[in-house]
Every structure is written in C-alpha cells, then in structure tokens.
C-alpha cells in the first residue's frame, strides 16, 4: 500500500513540474505570437528605414532602432571591462576575506535595485555631478551636464554590471585549479596566470555575461528615461567630422530608443488607437534586435571556442 502511495506522489510531482515548465513556455509563446501577428504587417523596408511622422501615427522607427543599437553597444563597451576587472579582483585577489564578502554582498544588492532608482541615480550622479563638474572645469557652457547618450549608456552599464560580474566570476572560478598550479609552478606571476591561463579559458563564459546583459539592458526604459532619451528628434545623434566629412555617433547628443518609443506611443500619443499597429511593430523590432545583438555575441563565442581547441 505504501509503495503505491509513493508512486502516486512521484507521478504527481512529475506532473506538477511538467505543468509549471509548460506554463512558463506557453506564456513566452503567447507573447511572441501576439506580437508577431500584431506587428508583422507593419514591418516594411520603409518602416525600418524612415523616421516617424504625423505625431507617430505614421512613418517609420529608424531613429529609435539606431539609438537602441548605439546605446546598447556603448553600454557593453563600458560595462564589460569594468565587470571583468571587478570579477578578476574578486576571484583572484580577495577570495573569502572580509573585503571580498562586503563587495559580493554589495553586488547582490545592486542587482536588486529597481531600475527607476538607477535612472534617478544617473541624473543625480552622472549628469548633475560628473557632467556639470566636467563642464565647469573645462569651461563648456552645457555639453556634459545634460541628458545625453553617454550618461544613459553609463546608467545602463551600472544596471547590468552585477550580471556581468556574477557570470564572469563563475567563468573564472570554473577554470581548473590544476591549470593555475601548472602556470604558477613555471614561475608565472599572478597577472601572467590571469592573462595567459585564466582569461583565455573563461572567455566564452564572459561572453555569456555579455549576452545576458544585452538582453537585460536593451529593453530597459526607466534608466534612460531621464538620462538622455528623447520623445522625438528630427535628426540622428550623429556628428560629422569637419573637413573629412565622416559621420560618427555623437555620445553627447540625445537619442530615440525603441523601448521608450513603445512607452510614449502607448501612453503619450495624441491618437493612441492610430499608433497601435506601430506599437506592435516596434515591439517586434525590439525583440528581433535584441535577438540579433545576442546572436552576434553568440557567433563571437563560437569563434572563440573553436580557436580554443
């Protein structure tokens, strides 16, 4: 009798786990299907390559796509070196000492801070403190002390930093002790061990951190809300170098962003009904763009893994 009860419980538990997994997957599928059928119709070359017109009820979303790519790339460029350096410090230099534990606890808490708080911190710290300070010292009237792409990317970088640090730390810790020992036994200094043995081994793990942080950062709205994102801009945040006429991205300009674009179309537009298909289309583009950015890092990772062999 007892055996039968045990078997029933086993079957029940298995069914429960399956049900939960199925629920999670079906939510994801429901979102993707809804967005796809709602938005696929409006996606045309013109939608992807033109700017919005008539109060966002017509035209395209190119400036927002451009801005999202710029800010995500800028965020990664800022967050990856800082995150890797912090993770190396934690795994290789502090260990389980008091300082290491304090830093680790801080990082975990940082990961739990709501994104709107990051946005406000970005305004207070980057724009008003750092930006205005730089302006005053350099004698600019108003260049750094205003909401611009640079500060928005920096705020996002802070937001994704815990993700990068934690995944990088895991990657560094998974490098076998035997390899470290081998290098030390040959007379390597700590830096040489990190540089020649640990980092090459951890490379694909570190890139996983980059993938996770792109997914996290590219779709965020709150941190960039006050730090540089614009409702509408008639031109791209591009700066042309005089004489040679090469256009470059200007990090000291405001920008449009897909996530914010969805938010304003859904809440601030003069004609919300008319923007609905565009909202779906923009959402689909945002999901697709995040996927593409991730894909590029994944290709990078495959390349590294192949070279390792």
């Amino acid at each position: 009798m007892i055996i039968k009860k045990r078997k029933i419980f086993n079957a029940f538990f298995q069914g429960l786990c399956f049900g939960m997994a199925f629920f999670v997957i079906s939510v994801l599928i429901a979102i993707l299907v809804r967005v796809f059928f709602g938005g696929a119709g409006v996606i045309t070359p013109g939608f992807l390559l033109k700017k919005p017109i008539e109060g966002m009820t017509a035209g395209g979303i190119f400036p927002a796509i451009f801005g999202t790519i710029c800010i995500t790339v800028l965020m990664i460029i800022m967050a990856i070196p800082a995150g890797i350096a912090a993770a190396i410090y934690l795994t290789e230099y502090t260990g389980k000492e008091f300082l290491g534990r304090v830093i680790r606890a801080s990082i975990n808490n940082l990961a739990g801070v709501p994104s709107i708080v990051f946005g406000l911190f970005g305004v207070g710290f980057f724009i008003l403190f750092v930006g205005r300070g730089v302006d005053r010292i350099m004698g600019f009237s108003l260049a750094f002390g205003q909401p611009v792409m640079l500060w928005a990317a920096a705020t996002l970088a802070l937001l994704v930093l815990p993700v990068i640090i934690v995944t990088t730390e895991e990657a560094l810790n998974s490098v076998p002790v035997s390899l470290r020992e081998a290098a030390f036994a040959l007379g390597a200094t700590k830096w040489q061990v990190v540089r020649n043995v640990v980092l090459p081994q951890a490379r694909s793990g570190i890139l996983t951190g980059a993938i996770l942080s792109i997914s996290r950062g590219a779709g965020e709205t709150a941190p960039i809300l006050f730090t540089g994102c614009a409702y509408f801009l008639p031109r791209l945040p591009v700066f042309t170098i005089p004489y040679v006429h090469i256009p470059v991205i200007n990090p000291l300009d405001q920008f449009m962003c897909l996530s914010y674009h969805i938010f304003i179309m859904a809440t601030q537009s003069t004609n919300i009904e008319a923007t609905r298909p565009i909202q779906y289309g923009t959402t689909l583009v945002l999901i697709g763009l995040t996927f593409l950015l991730n894909l590029s890092v994944i290709i990078f990772r495959i390349y590294f893994r192949k070279r390792q062999r």
């Binding site: 081998a182 040959l186 390597a188």
Partner: protein, 261 residues
C-alpha cells in the same frame, strides 16, 4: 655498507630540509622533518595516503600557499639559501624548482605553446630560440619523435602518458635545477608508466629529482634514496636498497612488506 660509503663521497646536497614543520591552517601536515636531496640523484618519498608526501615536496617550490592557508616552521635550503626567507623571489624559485603534477595538466593550447609557456613568461620571444627550446625539451622528455610533425596540434589530443611527458618537457623548458614529481604515474597505464620511469632514469643525469610515489616497486626501481613518511613524520631515510632489503625501523618493514598502507 660499502655502496653507501662510496656514494657519500661523490654526492652534493642540493636541497636540505631542516626541521621543517608545515601546517594547513591549524592542521599539522609535516612534523619536524630534516632530510637532504642530492644532486643528480632520485629521491623517492613513500608512505600511505595522507601522510604528507605531496606536502613535503610542494614545500620546496612553495606551491601549496597559492590555494591554501599555510604556516611553515623550520627551513628549506636550496643551495644553502632558505626558500622561506623574505627576500626570496618566488618566480625565480619556481624557475629553479620545476614540478610535474599527479594528473597531466597541459594547457588547452598547442604542444608547441605548452612547451614555450615558461620561457615566454620570462620574455623569450625569439622564434628561433623558442624552436630550439621546444626541440631540446621534447627530446629530453622522449616525446620529440612522436610529436615533431604535429607541434601545432592541441596538447589535449595526446594520450595520458604523452601528456605527462609533455608536462615534463614544459617543466624542463625553463631549465630548472630540481624536478619535483608528485605521483607522476598514478593516472597512467603500465606502459606509459614504464616510459616515464625510463625517462626519470635518464633525467637524473642533469637534475635533482624528488618523486612522490605510492608504488613501492617504482620507488625501488628508480630511486637512489628513499624516505618513508608516516603521519607527517619521517620514519626512515636511507639508500633505497637498504630501505627495501634491510630497514632499520619495524614500521618501515611492515609498510614495505604490505602489512598496512
């Protein structure tokens, strides 16, 4: 008795442990050991698992302190210089005292890059010089003929025995004076073990070799001197033939004849 006298005249002390006591945290792994390792001789350390054999040789190149919290009392003299003195440069110490580990641990790089890893750390970047080091080290570790046509292949593609000989080549590439071997054959099959043993026989012409082994036949075959460790203490240390034919200590005899361990 005659042999002992004869060798004693020719030999020179390379490494000398003087009252060495070694702690991992609060655990005393080695208890007041004094012994000598002689130049161009193979010294085997035998004893049951956990008796401190590995700790003993790892104390010589100070490799344990990388991953463990250690405390050391007494001295380890390398050419009469205590390696635990404050002014000792660990990088230089580990160049002079090479090590081969229990499990082959080649880097996931090419065979070539494995061998030149050490020299590159010291700033040798001349391609011709590196090529020479690779051929010299691999020849000495009896691997050259097997791998000379595929130096750019991954070291991971080699067999276990080949990997261990590669690790020996890697250690030889920085031109050490002492070679520490921590059960270098324990992960290998008998054929590969035999090759490593031949190699050790050959290498002792140039290096001072300290080898930890749990295989008593191996110690008897390849070593000139043998130390028997038990619970962190050196029970007996003598010429290998004496230890195996006529041990002074009853415990040594019991261990060697297989009564425990």
């Amino acid at each position: 008795m005659n042999t002992r006298h004869k060798t004693k005249e020719q030999i020179k002390t390379k490494v000398k442990l003087d009252g060495l006591t070694f702690y991992y945290g609060k655990y005393k792994a080695i208890d007041n050991i004094s012994m000598e390792f002689f130049e161009c001789k193979v010294t085997a350390i035998i004893g049951p698992s956990g008796c401190g054999k590995s700790t003993l040789i790892k104390a010589i190149n100070r490799i344990s302190e990388i991953t463990n919290d250690v405390k050391v009392e007494g001295k380890v003299l390398l050419d009469n210089k205590n390696v635990y003195d404050r002014d000792v440069d660990l990088v230089d110490l580990r160049r002079r005292v090479g090590m081969v580990f229990q499990r082959p641990n080649p880097f996931p790089k090419s065979i070539y890059d494995n061998v030149v890893f050490g020299p590159r750390l010291y700033g040798v970047n001349n391609k011709k010089q590196l090529d020479e080091i690779v051929e010299y080290s691999l020849t000495k570790s009896a691997l050259w003929n097997e791998v000379k046509d595929r130096l750019n292949h991954s070291a991971i593609s080699l067999s276990g025995g080949q990997q261990q000989r590669l690790c020996i080549a890697r250690a030889l590439a920085v031109d050490p004076e002492v070679l520490l071997m921590d059960e270098p054959c324990s992960a290998l099959d008998p054929t590969a073990t035999a090759r490593i043993e031949e190699l050790i026989e050959d290498l002792k012409k140039y290096y001072t070799i300290a080898i930890v082994t749990h295989n008593m036949q191996q110690a008897a075959r390849i070593s000139d001197y043998t130390g028997f460790l038990l619970n962190g203490q050196l029970m007996e240390y003598n010429i290998t033939t004496d230890i195996f034919t006529n041990p002074d200590n009853k415990v040594t005899e019991d261990y060697i004849t297989g009564r425990f361990g």
